[in-house]
């Protein structure tokens, strides 16, 4: 059974078809990339999957259960969590507290604060943020804030992690570090990852499979090599260079 299954998912914003009849499947343990030009519907699809608004049509199944129309917090409890394109840390809380919130309310729903603190500590060590745990989130660099966002999501002990342009705005070194982290998340923690990305080298390097959206529709799917040779994709990206 696929971990995540979208069937003919459509979202219509009063006349604007943001997402049209998109169907895809994610198997457990995959890293799948979602690419497409700006406005192709990627973030909308993420919003639909994570429950920010319901689809106009179509079904979204997670582990076999229909989640379309569920509230975001319920979806999170089932094991599906997302990060935001523009990071949204809890600015006035420390790094540790930020991650702790994830542990308190995610899948594991820690009942007491001290247990959540321990769980959070483990995630902090995994993501390399443990030295900065007492710093308020607003004092972090952008790369660290992204890392914090990922850490906080990891603390909810999800099965599927949706990463929304987590590499945007990072320097070359930071990007390599981040890519290592993403791989570790899948390899060591056993998560499935669905990532929206514009940084082509990362998408090509990390993804087992890539899905391409254009104007709200899925126009291609396959591994990195297949997708980069697909004429429809090349046409959509006319002028873009695809790094291998």
């Amino acid at each position: 059974m696929a971990l995540l299954e979208c069937q003919e998912v459509t979202k219509n914003f009063g006349g604007l078809m943001a997402v049209m009849n998109v169907s895809l499947q994610l198997e457990k343990g995959e890293i799948v990339g979602l690419i497409g030009a700006n406005g192709a519907g990627k973030t909308t699809l993420f919003n639909l999957i994570s429950g920010f608004y319901p689809p106009t049509n179509g079904s979204i199944r997670f582990e076999g259960d229909e989640i379309a129309g569920l509230k975001t917090h319920d979806i999170c409890r089932k094991g599906l969590v997302r990060t935001f394109q523009i990071v949204r840390p809890f600015h006035n809380m420390t790094v540790w507290d930020n991650v702790m919130v994830g542990a308190l309310f995610g899948v594991q729903k820690c009942k007491n604060v001290s247990r959540a603190k321990e769980e959070a500590m483990k995630v902090l060590e995994f993501t390399g943020l443990h030295e900065k745990k007492e710093i308020p989130a607003k004092g972090l660099t952008i790369a660290d804030r992204k890392r914090l966002e990922v850490a906080r999501s990891l603390a909810t002990k999800p099965k599927l992690l949706l990463l929304d342009e987590v590499l945007a705005g990072l320097t070359s070194t930071e990007t390599t570090e981040a890519m290592k982290l993403v791989r570790r998340i899948r390899d060591e923690m056993g998560l499935t990852i669905f990532m929206v990305e514009h940084v082509m080298k990362a998408v090509m390097g990390l993804s087992d499979r890539i899905v391409v959206l254009h104007n709200g529709e899925k126009i291609a799917e396959g591994n990195a090599e297949e997708v980069s040779k697909n004429p429809a994709v090349i046409e959509a990206y006319l002028g873009e260079k695809l790094h291998m």
Binding site: K71, H73, C76, R88, F90, H91, L104, V113
Partner: protein
């Protein structure tokens, strides 16, 4: 014993000492002093309970006076029909029930709209009571005779204030509290991490309404005469906000500090120059919102945090 544990023991002891002091003092001082302390306790209770909603979730409410008024009215209506501690509980419960009843739609409104909505609701309640009193009862005010003496009221309020602070303290350290803080920092992010924001806000709203109900009931006894204009007065909400902002909402003792200082100032001014007092409050609020949004305690905390960041940078 580490220093922080020692520190905690000492402050715990200090608090106990303070409470004992407050219990003993009414027997050794004049009525006037007792009444001033009573006022301070009233404001402490009102402000701390307000913090449970507005400080923790960031939903600033200008409607707290409505719950105060409801508490006062429940007391006025039930006076002499039931023992007064019971009435106080019923008043508090009624306030809380009302908050729960209207909570869901009201809390869906965000930011500044929530603020004016609460103001509108408070005024709405006021006019409903005015209308009812005038049309159904004939007169606007209500009188209560044979009220308990001031020292009894003082102790009632002391208990209420302590319970309020205790409640706020327990919430702050609990899982529920962290949920509320997350809502304040970023409601959508909180939702995406598994926090049922609607329920949490609703709970905070209801809990925070419990205490002004009790306080309103007690104060009704103190004033012996109430009318809708005085108990549903938006100036009450205004004072709460200024005290909370002035003292600083980051810590629980912030509002206590704010309540104490501003009540004392009002003591000096209210008798002769109530309007100066309000103008000063207004100016203070403007000043604080612009320059010191974390209040007085916030300034101290700023030094503390700056120190931590400096230490961290040095280590690197």
């Amino acid at each position: 014993m580490t220093t922080s544990r020692l520190g905690k023991y000492l402050s715990g002891l200090g608090l106990l000492g303070l409470v004992i002091f407050l219990c003993v003092i009414p027997f050794h001082s004049t009525d006037y002093i007792v009444s001033v302390l009573l006022d301070i306790l009233t404001w402490i209770g009102l402000t701390e309970s307000w913090i449970i909603l507005s400080g923790f979730t960031g939903y600033i409410s200008l409607g707290h006076s409505a719950f105060f008024g409801i508490g006062a009215y429940v007391m006025a209506i039930s006076w002499l029909k039931l023992p007064y501690p019971l009435i106080i509980l019923i008043s508090a419960a009624s306030s809380m029930a009302l908050a729960f009843a209207i909570g869901f739609p009201v809390l869906r409104v965000r930011g500044p709209y929530f603020v004016i909505l609460t103001l509108g609701l408070s005024e709405f309640a006021k006019y409903i009571f005015i209308n009812y009193e005038v049309n159904v009862k004939g007169t606007v005010g209500r009188i209560m005779l044979g009220v308990p003496n001031i020292r009894t009221l003082y102790f009632s309020l002391l208990i209420i204030a302590i319970v309020t602070i205790l409640c706020a303290y327990l919430i702050k350290r609990s899982r529920f509290g962290y949920g509320l803080f997350s809502i304040r920092e970023d409601e959508d992010a909180a939702e995406s991490l598994g926090i049922d924001t609607s329920i949490y806000k609703w709970l905070a709203f209801g809990i925070s309404a419990f205490f002004p109900g009790a306080i309103g009931a007690t104060m009704a006894l103190r004033r012996t005469y109430i009318d809708p204009y005085s108990v549903f007065d938006p100036i009450v909400s205004f004072q709460i906000i200024v005290m909370a902002f002035f003292g600083g909402m980051g810590r629980l003792h912030g509002p206590v500090l704010g309540a104490c200082i501003l009540t004392l100032i009002s003591e000096f001014l209210w008798a002769r120059y109530p309007h100066y007092y309000l103008i000063i409050l207004g100016v203070i609020l403007v000043f604080i919102v612009k320059f010191m949004p974390s209040g007085i305690l916030g300034i101290f905390e700023l030094f503390g945090k700056a120190g931590k960041i400096v230490k961290f940078v040095r280590r690197k």
